[in-house]
């Protein structure tokens, strides 16, 4: 069987209509994501990256061009595409177990219970089944949200700045976790971020977007072995390459060329 989870975006344009004139938010986006790839989309605020993600999820309607998942044109939101939002969006009146089971057709069946258990274990929340979201820390809530998005085995997982609200240390820990989950589930992931380190640690490819209108400026492959060494030379080189796209050249006062 052919592997599922190929996302093709062709000549995508998105406009917001305002009273006087149309505002072009996304301008001619072309992107192909292979099954099992981890892609990060990085860009400053207002570059349309969230709009792009919402279009792929199907929560945003009305665009020109094509968005194809395994050759099929998208038509509204679907269980095939999981999504993790920046705010975890766990329902406060449901226990963690029930929140995670939200994506299942029949969450009470024995099979579903098993799937829920597996996913709680996957994200390291075993033992928190009966807890409620307000009893969890930010990192744990986001892990529960990831489990909820994965529970119905989507072909592709879309993450909208999933770690943006976490503190720096929790975030680094979550990078490891996210990488482990991605490898274990063998799923296509597309993550929006504005954290360059995060993008390099996790991604196979980094898509750099520029603002007004949102366009893809450059796609930077990250051919480093995993797990990645944040202090490594190659890591630093790629970081510089990404930052250069934002006119953020780093000075090197203590290095010189021979």
């Amino acid at each position: 069987m052919e592997r599922l989870g190929t996302l093709e975006v062709k000549n995508l344009n998105k406009k917001y209509r305002s009273q006087n004139d149309d505002l072009l938010v996304l301008d001619d986006i072309n992107l192909t994501v292979q099954p099992g790839e981890f892609i990060s989309i990085i860009g400053s605020s207002g570059c349309g990256k969230t709009t792009f993600l919402r279009l792929v999820v199907g929560l945003e309607k009305g665009y020109e061009g094509e968005i194809l998942l395994d050759g099929q044109r998208l038509n509204g939101p679907s269980l095939k595409r999981g999504v993790v939002f920046q705010d975890h969006r766990l329902l406060p009146w449901l226990s963690i177990e029930k929140n995670v089971g939200m994506g299942l057709k029949n969450p009470k069946s024995g099979e579903s219970r098993k799937t829920i258990q597996e996913h709680l274990e996957l994200v390291g929340l075993k033992g928190f089944e009966k807890h409620y979201p307000h009893q969890l820390s930010g990192g744990m809530s986001q892990r529960a949200a990831i489990a909820r998005a994965l529970v119905n085995r989507p072909e592709i997982l879309l993450l909208d700045e999933p770690l943006g609200a976490l503190d720096a240390l929790t975030r680094m820990y979550m990078h490891q976790e996210l990488e482990r989950i991605w490898m274990k589930e063998d799923i296509t992931m597309i993550m929006i971020t504005h954290d360059v380190d995060e993008a390099i640690v996790l991604s196979d490819k980094i898509v750099v977007m520029s603002s007004r209108p949102g366009t893809i400026k450059k796609i930077i492959p990250v051919p480093l072995a995993r797990p990645r060494d944040r202090a490594g030379y190659d890591f630093a080189n790629i970081k510089e390459e990404v930052l250069a796209e934002f006119q953020l050249h780093t000075d090197h006062p203590f290095t010189y060329s021979i």
Binding site: S78, L79, R89, M102
Partner: protein, 257 residues
């Protein structure tokens, strides 16, 4: 912690206590004539007489029955309208302007009209009460449903929920606190209006006891009425409050977004 809570509750008792002492002082020295303000002890004795003769219980029963029927009628119709407007946009577009117009009318302004239609018997009182109870219920139900966070609705859209599952999983639990507030407002409104209705149109009932007592210059009976009304209203709200905590529970304190 515990001590702090008890201390805070006791703070609320200080001013009533001062007022009570002042009341006792002013009436026992007859600085205020007893016909206008009887002493606390007299009030208590009068209450005891009314209580032991069964007069108070009989009239309370009548008032509470009216409140019960008026409250049910108003709460149910208010809930239905609020739900319909909250869930279906066309219903809201058709009915909300009319509803907003209706709710600007003070309920007491309906009294002459309702008496013309329904006379001064039970139906007048029940309909009058239900008019008042209807408004907060409809308003709070609508508000609760409209206030369901769009972010939660997006989550279930991605999960391809049918409308019933959306209702059960997101809309009902999210709107429930507001609906419950609506019920409490609705009940206290009903309780206020029953007294109003009884002051206007004679019959039995706690309000009517007060009307008759006023005519006979029995200030003590009038005041007993006031105090009984206050305590009953307070108790009814407290009971609903306890039910609310019991059923809506702890986990809603941290509603996001």
């Amino acid at each position: 912690m515990k001590f702090q809570i008890i201390k805070n509750k006791l703070l609320g008792l200080i001013i009533p206590l001062i007022l009570y002492v002042a009341w006792d002082f002013l009436t026992s020295r007859e600085i205020i004539p007893p016909e206008l303000l009887p002493a606390p002890k007299v009030i208590f004795d009068t209450w005891w007489d009314l209580q032991s003769s069964g007069e108070l219980a009989l009239n309370m029963k009548m008032s509470l029955l009216r409140v019960g029927f008026g409250f049910l009628l108003g709460a149910i119709s208010g809930f239905l309208l609020g739900t319909a407007m909250g869930l279906w946009k066309p219903v809201e577009l058709y009915l909300n302007p009319l509803f907003n117009f209706f709710r600007q009318i003070p309920v007491v302004a309906w009294i002459p009209f309702l008496i013309l239609w329904l006379g001064i018997d039970e139906w007048f009182k029940i309909v009058f009460i239900s008019f008042g109870a209807f408004i907060p219920m409809a308003l709070k139900t609508l508000e609760g449903i409209k206030g369901v966070p769009a972010s939660y609705l997006e989550v279930v859209r991605v999960f391809e929920y049918g409308w019933f599952r959306v209702l059960r999983t997101v809309i009902v639990p999210s709107a429930l606190p507001s609906i419950s507030t609506g019920l409490r407002l609705c009940l206290s409104e009903a309780w206020m209006l029953v007294i109003g209705a009884e002051l206007v149109a004679a019959g039995e009932g706690i309000g009517n006891v007060m009307v008759i007592a006023r005519r006979l210059f029995q200030t003590d009976v009038v005041l007993v009425g006031v105090i009984v009304i206050a305590i009953t209203g307070f108790a009814m709200d407290k009971v609903l409050g306890l039910l609310e905590t019991r059923f809506l529970g702890l986990h809603r304190s941290q509603n996001a977004q």
